[in-house]
């Protein structure tokens, strides 16, 4: 493979990182405190939580779907962790697998609806999102409470070699899923389904099962992000997952992953997360009003997606 070919193939990924880098440089010049270790640390933590939900979202998007139920799977996971442990560190050992299992189950519910019943992904996950919301709010009578055990908090607030453990966890999961998606037969199947359902079916892929597994994985990642996020905040609240619905989809799209499915990569998605997080930090650093923030966010989202998907449209 020549360098030219490599450049051409990965144009959208380069573009994404370029946008993130330029944004970063731009702010650092205008606002010297921005690139300080402390601020970078905060940004990296924000990026990690979003990044972990994005990994799951990306798997679903690769199959040509979309998961809008991330926010309430996320929120349920956080509350379930607090509820199962009751603030007790020792119970974390069995609570975490249970919560991850619950996430897997919720994801599977989405997957079955999309894959076996044949409901459009957007509708299915939108509906399950409010179903999960209703479940949590209904079961707890509208006033769930609690907070995460201390061990989780010290994990989320700690430091390993200067990096936040959350950040390291994100890196580890990104690498794991990069290998899974780019190098394993399972990853190939995901791309195949996203490219053409029929062709994948005739190639002997168990299309329905693989599709369900994508949603299950997404549910599990959302639950994982929820667990980690519960360690970040002192008091859990309803609606804490809401920002992750559109942000996870935006990050995936900015990262050059086609929402039609079948193209994109994990590295691109990570770049998309960086763009969003740097942008978020930028607006906060300058103390820009929320109104302008939202306008800038919309414009950057549009331009970034336009840049990263230009090649595909041109082909």
């Amino acid at each position: 493979m020549t360098i030219k070919r490599f450049w051409k193939d990965n144009f959208s990924i380069f573009m994404t990182y370029m946008v993130a880098f330029l944004l970063m440089v731009f702010v650092s010049v205008l606002h010297p405190g921005y690139a300080s270790p402390n601020n970078l640390r905060i940004l990296s933590i924000t990026a990690s939580i979003l990044g972990i939900t994005v990994i799951g979202q990306m798997i679903v998007v690769l199959t040509g779907g979309m998961d809008l139920s991330v926010p309430w799977m996320f929120t349920i996971a956080a509350f379930l962790t607090a509820d199962l442990t009751g603030g007790d560190n020792g119970k974390l050992i069995f609570a975490v697998p249970i919560v991850l299992g619950a996430g897997l189950l919720m994801g599977t519910f989405n997957g079955i609806g999309v894959s076996y019943v044949g409901i459009a992904p957007v509708i299915m996950t939108m509906a399950s999102n409010i179903i999960f919301q209703g479940l949590l709010v209904g079961l707890t009578g509208g006033t769930p409470g609690g907070s995460a055990p201390k061990a989780l908090k010290s994990f989320a607030g700690g430091s390993i070699g200067g990096f936040s453990p959350l950040f390291l966890a994100w890196i580890v999961f990104s690498v794991l899923f990069f290998i899974l998606i780019a190098k394993s037969p399972y990853g190939r199947k995901l791309y195949a389904i996203g490219n053409s359902n029929t062709v994948a079916l005739f190639s002997g892929i168990n299309v329905k099962l693989v599709r369900v597994s994508a949603y299950s994985l997404c549910g599990m990642m959302a639950a994982l992000a929820g667990i980690l996020f519960s360690g970040r905040i002192s008091q859990l609240y309803l609606g804490m997952g809401d920002p992750y619905q559109m942000q996870s989809v935006s990050a995936v799209a900015i990262g050059g992953v086609s929402l039609l499915g079948g193209s994109g990569s994990c590295i691109g998605a990570v770049g998309g997360v960086l763009v969003l997080v740097v942008l978020d930090g930028l607006l906060a650093a300058f103390g820009i009003a929320q109104s302008i923030q939202k306008i800038v966010y919309g414009v950057v989202l549009f331009l970034a997606v336009l840049l990263s998907s230009r090649r595909k449209a041109g082909r």
Binding site: M66, G113, V117, G118, I119, A120, V122, I123, M124, M126, A127, S128, N129, I130, I131, Q133, G134, L135, V137, G138, G141, G142, M246, V249, S250, A253, L259, L260, A289, Q290, S291, I292, Q293, K294, I295, V296, Y297, G298, V299, L301, F302, V305, L306, S309, A313
Partner: protein, 326 residues
């Protein structure tokens, strides 16, 4: 002869029972409510219900046009916010000012919609992302216009839109008017084009339909209806809020989908959407009468949505098995 007619009717039912689902849902809900609490089913209740549901109905109607072309419009929520804020903060208590601001809002909404349609068709980006971006921009603009909830809505504006002709509210007349317009629009060239583009974009293009114009029209109409929804919400709630529209995004899509409009485009219509919106707006009342805590209402909404879509997916499957081209 008689037998033949009977067979024909049976055939119609067999082919079209899917489209009857939303009507059946609404009917069952109303009957249940009638049994549980007979006094509710009065003309007054219906008038109140139609006032309460009209904003959603209008937003969902706009959404239907876009869904029919196989698109997706998230900017509906943003446009409602902008309209709501503008109307609540700028309108003066004179007919001229009210009409002028309504006109300005309508212009803005249609312009945003047209922009959406143009960009989506021009860049071939996913409607989801493009309208998400415009939605975010609109939310920002709404916050620029009004920082916090409040505003001052002229009394005459409120009274005008919530006026009752005897037992018939203005909102009900608007709904009927929209349906009549829809009957007409469906017969026109552009009505056909919207369905055609949604069914098969490539084939429509090859048959000389301008996909660009059709999409711009659909998104423009959606923007316009979002403005109407925002204007009516302003009168109904009698205040403005920069976050008013956020609730309308997903529920407008739900209403259209429950009403039988397919996300893949090319199937469905306004009649079903109106019924779907009414179903969604009646659930809360029904739950109250059933003695269920309102905390569960979002769960019930979700289940209803899945049920409605699952049944229609099942129906399509049955049709396909019989060899029909769907």
């Amino acid at each position: 002869m008689k037998q033949e007619k009977k067979n024909k009717r049976g055939w119609w039912l067999r082919e079209n029972w899917i489209t009857l689902i939303p009507y059946a849902m609404l009917l069952v809900m109303i009957i249940l409510m009638g049994i549980l609490n007979p006094s509710t089913l009065s003309l007054r209740w219906m008038a109140n219900k139609s006032d309460a549901a009209l904003s959603l109905i209008l937003a969902a109607i706009g959404q239907t046009f876009v869904l029919l072309t196989g698109g997706f419009d998230l900017s509906v929520g943003g446009i409602i916010c902008v309209t709501n804020c503008l109307a609540a903060s700028r309108m003066q208590d004179s007919s001229g000012s009210m009409l002028a601001w309504a006109g300005i809002c309508l212009g803005i909404g249609c312009a945003i919609g047209i922009f959406n349609g143009f960009i989506i068709e021009k860049t071939k980006l996913q409607p989801f992302i493009v309208t998400l971006a415009t939605q975010s921009i609109c939310y920002g603009v709404a916050l620029l216009i009004m920082k916090v909830d409040g505003g001052n809505v002229p009394i005459r504006y409120i009274n005008g839109l919530l006026h009752r002709f005897g037992p018939i509210p203005v909102s009900m007349l608007i709904i009927i008017g929209m349906l009549v317009l829809w009957m007409y629009f469906k017969q026109t060239k552009w009505g056909l084009f919207i369905y055609a583009v949604g069914s098969n974009e490539k084939a429509s293009h090859l048959n000389g339909i301008s996909v660009m114009k059709t999409k711009v029209l659909a998104y423009g109409i959606s923007g316009g209806f979002a403005v109407l929804a925002g204007l009516f919400r302003t009168a109904h709630v009698a205040s403005g809020s920069p976050t008013a529209g956020a609730d309308f995004v997903m529920i407008s899509i739900s209403a259209a989908v429950i009403g039988g409009t397919a996300l893949t485009g090319g199937a469905g219509g306004m009649m079903g959407t109106v019924i779907g919106a009414l179903v969604l707006r009646t659930i809360a009342d029904l739950l109250v009468f059933l003695g269920v805590s309102s905390y569960w209402s979002s769960l019930v909404q979700g289940v209803l949505l899945i049920l409605a879509v699952a049944i229609s997916a099942y129906g399509t499957l049955l049709k396909r098995k019989r060899g029909a081209v769907v």
